[in-house]
């Protein structure tokens, strides 16, 4: 077994295990902690796949910003373990949940095994230009090049989207009226 395999298994177990523990944990804070562990595992897997820029981005954005925001809100709302009375309130919910997720997992595995399945929807031929692809490289500059040339439109749109969401968040968290309790 090569070292890469060993690392893969460690970080795979870390990410899936963290995910499972997060789903089944009682306290939201511990759930957030497990989530961070899982995200770090995913970042390590990105490194194994030689997507270094994205690995760093994962740690900075996801584990760094998003999870911190989660923890902040948990502390703000003071959600304790007795807020959710039981992990799974009804057996019915548990049954449906497990069957639903098993259904999803098996569907996806079938799709992957059968080479992607055949689509039921008619798709037309793409124009020639659209299939020009970028070469994979671990360089950040390749990233930047692709973003600025091929994916110029999505960058602009995501800029707009970030602006809109920022404004939205500010408005949502304003006090709606003076005598409203926080």
């Amino acid at each position: 077994m090569t070292s890469v395999d060993f690392l893969f298994w460690i970080f795979a177990i870390l990410s899936v295990g963290g995910g499972v523990c997060m789903v089944f944990s009682k306290h939201p804070v511990s759930a957030a902690m497990f989530m961070i562990v899982s995200l770090v595992g995913v970042a390590a897997l990105f490194v194994l796949l030689e997507a270094f820029f994205l690995a760093v981005l994962q740690v900075l954005v996801y584990a760094g910003a998003v999870m911190v925001l989660f923890l902040f809100i948990i502390m703000l709302l003071d959600v304790g373990p007795n807020a959710s009375k039981q992990k799974i309130t009804h057996l019915k919910t548990g049954m449906i949940g497990i069957t639903g997720s098993l259904l999803l997992i098996s569907t996806l595995i079938f799709i992957v095994e059968n080479g992607g399945g055949t689509s039921n929807f008619v798709h037309s031929e793409l124009p020639m230009q659209a299939t020009n692809s970028l070469e994979f490289s671990t360089n950040i500059s390749a990233f930047g090049y692709g973003l600025m040339t091929k994916y110029m439109l999505p960058i602009q749109i995501s800029g707009f989207m970030l602006l809109a969401s920022m404004i939205g968040v500010i408005i949502l968290s304003k006090r709606s009226s003076p005598h409203d309790d926080a």
């Binding site: 639903g100 999803l104 399945g117 055949t118 689509s119 039921n120």
Partner: protein
């Protein structure tokens, strides 16, 4: 000829209509009209029987047409028909006369006599009919008139329940009968008895065996054989002449008559089954009768037993013997029922035999005729019952030994319980004040008893039957005369009734108010009294199994047939809305569920996994 038959058939219907319309309040006039009608029927029946013109009269006409198929209405008057016609008309007339006396102080006489007239109409219809569908129509009418007459004292719960039970159990048998008729039409293409006789082939197949067994379902329902025998003892809640006419002499015999009419359709297996079931019934009813206290119920069980004999005779391939036993049975059973009616009337409607006693000194005529009936049914030599029973036992001994053993045991039991009835009721000391005050009734009631007594003695000498009546019987009787072991059978028969007489004399001559058998053999007594729990089993089945199933069907019917199919698209929309309402709980989590599961479903569909 045909017109005589038509007249005879519709005269009682006419009399019933007249009674219904005009004579509701006038009891005596209604009763006289009914008796005169039955007298006219007797005269016309005799003229039909002794008509020298034709051996067999067959006539039919179209009743109505439905598209390409027509229903015919016709008469087939051959030898068995003539014999049954004689029995029905004669016994019917005598019972009408008896009813004049018995129901003399009843307040609802018009209803009673109207019912009797409808019964005569239906019974004559069954006797004369020439195709299965016509038999079925009159079959149902007989069931209806039985329902009407059992519920004569409808103010008591017992009668109302008994008449309903009789009708429903009959209906179950008729259901099988109807399916059998349909199957007959399907297999043979006709329901006319003459044509069926030509077409019937003797190669037994599943279709023909099923067919004849289904037709025999009608017999099982009407003649109260196993498993539909539960209605006959309860039917004794009706007036005694009704029990005599309908449930002893004629209606229950109609089942046997049906079998005789269609005997060319029966296959070997079906015959064997009927013989065995009949013999079993003969024995079972004997045990039940042994422990009864009600005089009419004893006679009812004895009827069940004798019907088993007739069924066994038929099943062994001797329909003539079955008809012979039917005739003699009609005579002595009607005699005994009328005798019991006379006793009941004299003792102010008391029916428990342990409250009688010593009636021989007080009602000598009734006692003697009743004793004649008891001798006849027990097979005392040279009475009428002896000839028919002896012939059946002989036939069974030579052809079917297990059936013979059952029938012989039944014969011993018959003799025991019949003599028990006689000794407890007529001998000994009077055990109640009614019995002490009993006296002989009027000639209206004793006259028929005497006539039937004479017939019970001499009815077995079939050589005195005129050729018209006896031709059908002679065929089988001549065979049975030629069978071996006749002397041995005579000895066995004599042993049977002598054993019964001695046993009853020892046990029952000096009794007080309780049955000595209940003290002597309590376990045996209990088993016999339970009647093998048939009523309880049926009740359990209906209430615990059938009822919930019907409720389930009702819900299904409401949902799907009324909802979906009858109301059509509206029902479908309603059903869908009921299902969809389940999705619309106000809880957000449910929406999350449906959203996610829907996504998964969409994934499954769009990736084309289903087609692969």
């Amino acid at each position: 000829m045909v017109s005589v038959a038509l007249c005879m058939l519709f005269l009682p219907l006419l009399s019933a209509l007249v009674t219904l319309l005009f004579l509701r309040k006038n009891g005596s006039f209604a009763s006289l009209l009914s008796v005169c009608t039955s007298g006219a029927i007797l005269i016309m029946a005799l003229s039909l029987i002794f008509d020298r013109n034709a051996d067999t009269l067959a006539w039919d006409t179209t009743w109505f047409q439905l598209g390409g198929w027509e229903l015919r209405f016709g008469f087939l008057i051959d030898a068995p028909c003539r014999l049954l016609l004689f029995v029905v008309a004669f016994v019917g007339f005598l019972i009408h006369v008896f009813s004049l006396g018995y129901m003399g102080d009843d307040s609802a006489r018009p209803r009673y006599f109207g019912g009797l007239s409808i019964f005569m109409f239906s019974m004559l219809g069954i006797t004369l009919a020439d195709n299965l569908i016509m038999i079925f129509v009159f079959w149902e009418l007989v069931g209806f008139s039985s329902y009407l007459l059992i519920a004569h004292y409808f103010k008591t719960d017992e009668s109302a329940n008994a008449s309903r039970k009789a009708f429903i159990v009959n209906r179950i048998g008729d259901f099988g009968f109807l399916i059998g008729i349909i199957l007959t039409y399907w297999v043979y293409g006709t329901v006319n008895l003459n044509e069926l006789a030509d077409l019937a082939d003797f190669s037994p197949s599943l279709a023909t065996t099923t067919l004849c067994l289904l037709l025999a379902c009608g017999f099982i329902g009407k003649s109260a054989q196993f498993p539909l025998h539960v209605w006959l003892p309860d039917a004794m809640a009706g007036p005694t002449p009704v029990s005599a006419l309908i449930h002893a002499a004629t209606m229950v015999a109609a089942g046997v008559y049906l079998l005789i009419r269609i005997d060319f359709l029966f296959t070997e297996d079906a015959l064997g089954l009927i013989a065995f079931m009949g013999a079993l019934m003969g024995l079972y009813a004997g045990f039940c009768a042994l422990v009864q206290r009600d005089i009419k119920k004893i006679l009812a069980y004895s009827t069940l037993s004798q019907l088993g004999y007739m069924a066994a005779a038929f099943g062994m391939g001797a329909p003539g013997l079955a008809l012979f036993h039917l005739t003699t049975h009609a005579f002595f059973k009607a005699l005994m029922f009328l005798g019991s009616g006379s006793v009941i009337y004299a003792c102010h409607h008391e029916q428990d035999i342990f409250k009688y006693g010593g009636l021989r000194k007080r009602m000598p005529l009734t006692a003697i005729t009743f004793l004649i009936g008891v001798f006849a049914i027990s097979g005392v030599n040279f009475f009428s019952g002896y000839f028919s029973k002896d012939a059946i036992l002989l036939w069974a001994y030579n052809f079917n030994l297990p059936v013979f053993i059952l029938l012989y045991a039944g014969a011993i039991l018959t003799s025991i319980y019949m003599f028990r009835l006689y000794f407890v009721s007529f001998e000994g000391e009077s055990r109640s004040e009614y019995a002490q005050g009993a006296k002989e009734n009027s000639i209206l009631m004793t006259g028929p008893l005497i006539l039937l007594g004479i017939l019970s003695i001499f009815g077995g000498y079939f050589s005195i039957y005129p050729i018209e009546l006896g031709s059908f019987l002679r065929a089988d009787l001549s065979i049975s005369d030629a069978l071996p072991n006749h002397m041995w059978m005579v000895v066995l028969g004599t042993i049977a009734w002598v054993v019964g007489l001695l046993f009853s004399r020892l046990t029952y001559s000096r009794v007080s108010n309780s049955d000595p058998l209940s003290k002597g053999l309590p376990a045996f007594f209990e088993i016999c009294q339970s009647r093998l729990f048939f009523d309880e089993i049926y009740h359990f089945f209906i209430s615990k199994i059938y009822d919930p199933f019907c409720r389930f069907l009702e819900v299904m019917e409401l949902l799907f047939i009324s909802g979906l199919m009858v109301r059509g698209s509206a029902g479908l929309a309603a059903l869908l809305s009921m299902l969809s309402k389940l999705c619309y709980s106000g809880r957000m989590h449910t929406y999350v569920f449906w959203f996610l599961l829907g996504t998964v479903g969409f994934l499954i569909y769009s990736s084309g996994l289903i087609n692969q």
